[in-house]
Symmetry: C2
Subunit: 202 residues, 2 copies
DNA sequence: TGTATAATTCAACACATGATGAATTATACG
DNA sequence: CGTATAATTCATCATGTGTTGAATTATACA
C-alpha cells in the first residue's frame, strides 16, 4: 500500500471535509475513548491530512465537544415520549421501550458510550456527561414521576440506564452483551414501575 | 522546595517500598484513571525513585494488575452475605445493605472505581473488570436468585450497582454524589425485591 | 480582473511517557 | 570475610502526542 502523496493546496469542487472529520471523530471516540483517539487516527479515518482536524476545531477538546454534541436542540425524545403518558402505571412500558430505542439507535449509542468512555478519565468530559444525563434523562423522568423523592428515583433510574450501557457496550459482560434488547426491556419494565409507584407518600 | 538528591545505592534498614508503591498506585489509578496515572506520579506519591515501580513490576500493566487485585482469596463478602439468607423476601435488605457497605469501604470502592475508569479505555482492563464483576457480583447473586432468567436478572442488578458507582463517584451527578448511602439503600430495597420475585415461573 | 480568504499539505517542535541499562550501596549467606 | 544478590539512583532512549507555521492552490467577491 504505497502512501500516495496528494497534491498541495486547496481541492476543487464541493467539500464536506468538516462533516466527515466529525463523523470519524464521533465513531472513534465512541470506540476507543478519548486518549486513544488521536488526531492522526481521526484524520486517517476521514481520509484527510492530519493538520485538518486542528485547523477546523483548533483543539482536541473542541473536536470532542462538537463530535459528541451534535444538534440536540428541542426537547429530547425521552421528554416527548414521557409527555404522552399520564398514569404512573404507564411508565414502565414507556421508558422500557425508550431504552431499547436508545440502544438500537447507533447515533445515540455512540454519543452515550463516547461520553462514558471519556468521562471515566477526563474531568471535563465528566462535566459534559453530567449535564447531558441530567438534562436528557434525569430531569424528564423526575418531572414525569413527581411525588416525594422524584429526583432520587430518577437519578437511580438514570444510573441503571448508564450502567446497562457500561456493562453491555464497554465492559462487555457476556450476559449483557449478548442479551436481546427486547428481553432487557421486558425485564426492566417491572423495575421502572416499582420506581414509579413505591414510596409515593406525597 | 529544593529537590534534595538522595544518596546512591541501597537504603539501610527495613523497607516496605513495594507496598507503598502499590498503595500509591491503587489510590492514583482510582482517582485519575489508567492513562493519567503515570509511573512518575506513582513514584512521587510513594516518595520513591521513578525507576522503582518499573523495577518491581516490570510494566505499567502489571502494576495496575497487582494494585487492583490484592489478595482476594476465598468467597467474596457478597457470597458470604447471601449464604445467610434463604427466602427471596430477604434479598432486598441483604443486598441493599451490602451495596452500602461497598460504597463506604474505601478499599473496595477504590478498586471498583479504578476498574471502571480503566475499563472505559483499556480493553485489557475491561477484561479484568468483566471477570471481577462476574465472579464477585453477578455469579453469587445469580446462584442465590435461582429460577428462570436468574442470570439476566443478576446481570441487570450488577449493571445497576456499577451504574451507581459510575454516576456517584466518577461522573459526579449532583443527586447521586450527595445522597446518603442509607437513603440509596432504602430506595434500592424494593427494586432488588422486584428482581428477586418477578417473572419467577420456574 | 485582482485580491483577500479559505482549504489543504508538509515539516517540525516541544513535551511527556514507558522503558532500559549502567553504576552504586547495602544486605544475605556460605 | 567474601561474594552473589537485592535495592536504589541517574541518565537516557525511542516513541507518540497535540499543536504550530509556512507554503501552495483554489474559491469568493468587489
Amino acid at each position: 500500500m504505497a502512501k500516495q502523496t496528494k497534491p498541495l493546496g486547496r481541492r476543487s469542487g464541493s467539500n464536506d471535509t468538516r462533516r466527515s472529520i466529525l463523523e470519524a471523530a464521533r465513531r472513534l471516540f465512541s470506540e476507543k475513548g478519548y486518549e486513544h483517539t488521536t488526531i492522526r487516527l481521526v484524520a486517517a479515518a476521514a481520509q484527510v491530512d492530519p493538520a485538518l482536524p486542528m485547523h477546523y476545531f483548533k483543539t482536541k477538546q473542541q473536536l470532542f465537544l462538537e463530535a459528541m454534541l451534535p444538534d440536540y436542540q428541542g426537547p429530547s425524545r425521552l421528554s416527548q415520549a414521557l409527555a404522552t403518558i399520564s398514569t404512573p402505571e404507564a411508565f414502565g412500558p414507556a421508558i422500557a421501550v425508550l431504552i431499547v430505542r436508545i440502544m438500537e439507535d447507533p447515533e445515540t449509542r455512540n454519543i452515550l458510550t463516547g461520553l462514558i468512555r471519556a468521562a471515566a478519565s477526563e474531568p471535563e468530559a465528566a462535566t459534559l456527561m453530567r449535564v447531558f444525563v441530567e438534562e436528557q434523562i434525569i430531569l424528564p423522568i423526575s418531572r414525569a414521576l413527581g411525588g416525594s423523592q422524584a429526583n432520587l428515583k430518577a437519578s437511580l433510574l438514570g444510573s441503571h440506564i448508564v450502567g446497562i450501557f457500561l456493562t453491555r457496550y464497554i465492559v462487555g459482560l457476556d450476559t449483557m452483551a449478548s442479551a436481546d434488547p427486547t428481553e432487557i426491556a421486558e425485564m426492566l419494565e417491572p423495575i421502572i414501575s416499582t420506581y414509579a409507584l413505591v414510596h409515593n407518600d406525597q
